[in-house]
């Protein structure tokens, strides 16, 4: 018998019971479905003890490494502190270290954060203004290297949060950040594997973070980044990416514009289409897709049909408005 701690309550998991059984017996509200380790509705996170391997099934490697497991498949081997997915994320107060334009509609926001080592490049956090207005943004840098989180914040028509960041937020101001979320990040295994990064708009934010992380870990396989926007003026970080490609022979960068004429050195067309055309066989590749939801969904399927393993395709679809998915 082992105790399970969830916020302020404690549940004892009896012999033969799964974590899901114990939580349901105590009327704790947890989503679940098949009770067979298939549907993954009952994913919870252990904040301390490592979950038994059998309870992690075929979750993505990134979820496994952060202690997530299937409650219906878990017979605890020791006491555990659990976080349910619906449990409200805690917010930490942070200070704005920089807020400067990247292009005509995107700001680079840098905030100082304690416990930066818990955040991974490519994950997302919920940023919160003093009055509670909250939006999700992806981490564009390696947090532990600088003790900061960087975000690319695009001004959206009618977007209250982005308008505030663009017009009012200043260096030294306070802003609140949630726990890191999401599984779209680099894991330093299989370092000779090819990595294909495809992003549109501020989908470059998580990809830039993942790229920096992979290079910092000495990833030796090819890394190919395709970044697209509609117009040339909406691209950014072009010079930085070109400079990185010069320094790292295994990294290549392709910028794309989908409407109007492309200037020299920039491809005319959609980033996902250019990337897939250049990679007819993705059977050994790891693929990261970030940005517009339609682009992410279609490309996910195409990458899979070109042979990428399901577990090797990481998606981060940016959904606009109060939806809990990230915008950047």
């Amino acid at each position: 018998m082992f105790d399970l701690t969830i916020e302020n309550s404690r549940v004892t998991c009896r012999p033969g019971e799964t974590v899901l059984d114990a939580l349901l017996r105590e009327n704790i509200d947890i989503p679940y479905g098949c009770k067979a380790g298939v549907c993954q509705s009952c994913v919870v996170q252990s904040l301390d003890a490592k979950p038994p391997e059998t309870a992690q099934g075929d979750l993505k490697d990134t979820l496994k490494s952060s202690g997530h497991f299937l409650a219906c498949q878990c017979h605890p081997e020791q006491p555990m502190t659990l976080k349910l997915s619906k449990q409200a994320a805690r917010f930490a107060e942070c200070t704005v270290a920089a807020n400067a334009p990247l292009n005509r509609n995107t700001q680079l926001l840098v905030i100082e954060i304690a416990d930066a080592h818990r955040y991974k490049a490519g994950q997302f956090v919920n940023l919160q203004r003093g009055d509670g207005l909250t939006r999700s943004y992806s981490i564009a840098n390696i947090p532990h290297a600088s003790g900061t989180l960087e975000f690319h914040i695009r001004r959206l028509p009618g977007g209250r949060f982005s308008a505030w960041v663009h017009a009012e937020l200043k260096v030294g101001d306070a802003i609140w950040a949630s726990e890191p979320q999401g599984h779209c990040f680099y894991l330093p295994d299989r370092k000779d594997q090819g990595i294909l990064l495809i992003g549109t708009g501020t989908g470059l934010a998580p990809l830039a973070g993942i790229l920096a992380d992979a290079l910092a870990h000495g990833h030796s396989g090819p890394i190919r980044l395709f970044h697209g926007s509609r117009e040339h003026e909406d691209l950014y970080h072009v010079e930085q990416m070109r400079a990185l490609a010069e320094r790292h022979p295994n990294f290549s960068y392709t910028a794309c514009v989908s409407s109007g004429d492309a200037p020299a050195g920039i491809v005319q067309g959609r980033a996902n289409e250019a990337a897939l055309a250049a990679h007819p066989d993705l059977s050994r590749w790891r693929v990261f897709l970030c940005g517009h939801p339609d682009m992410v969904r279609t490309t996910q399927k195409q990458a899979y049909l070109k042979g990428a393993r399901l577990a090797d395709i990481y998606c981060d679809a940016f959904v606009v408005s109060a939806d809990p998915a990230p915008q950047s």
Binding site: C34, K35, A36, G37, V38, C39, Q40, G57, D58, R297, Q300, K301, Y304, L305, G307, R309, L310, A311
Partner: protein, 122 residues
């Protein structure tokens, strides 16, 4: 007492390996891919896992009634026996490709075949 087919075939790891191959075959097959096409690929994958877990006689709580209601929409879209047979073909092809022994493939096929009338709403 012999172990269940699910255990002999390799359990959840076998399900995952099979789904990775199978779903690609199905999506590439013009006879049937419209029944599997969906913008939510993750949800589709979960369904394919449930299918293989079922075909391997693994842990599931499906009833004939569940099978019927789950496939009702597809029957309305025109799904019939020929589509079911195409899926059976890919089930066999996938398991062959994974070098599953013939007798186990036959066992899985007969479990899947057992759901035919419920799936087709007959």
């Amino acid at each position: 007492m012999s172990n269940s087919l699910y255990e002999r075939i390799g359990g959840e790891a076998a399900v995952n390996a099979a789904v990775d191959l199978f779903y690609r075959k199905v999506l590439s097959d013009h006879r049937i891919n419209r029944f599997f096409d969906s913008t939510d690929m993750d949800a589709q994958i979960a369904k394919q896992k449930a299918f293989f877990t079922y075909a391997f006689g693994g842990p599931n709580n499906y009833t004939g009634k569940d099978m019927r209601s789950a496939h009702e929409r597809l029957v309305k879209m025109g799904m019939n026996g020929s589509h079911f047979d195409a899926v059976m073909e890919h089930l066999g092809g996938t398991l062959h490709e994974l070098k599953v022994p013939e007798d186990l493939i036959a066992e899985a096929a007969s479990i899947a075949l057992g759901a035919r009338s419920d799936v087709l709403g007959l």
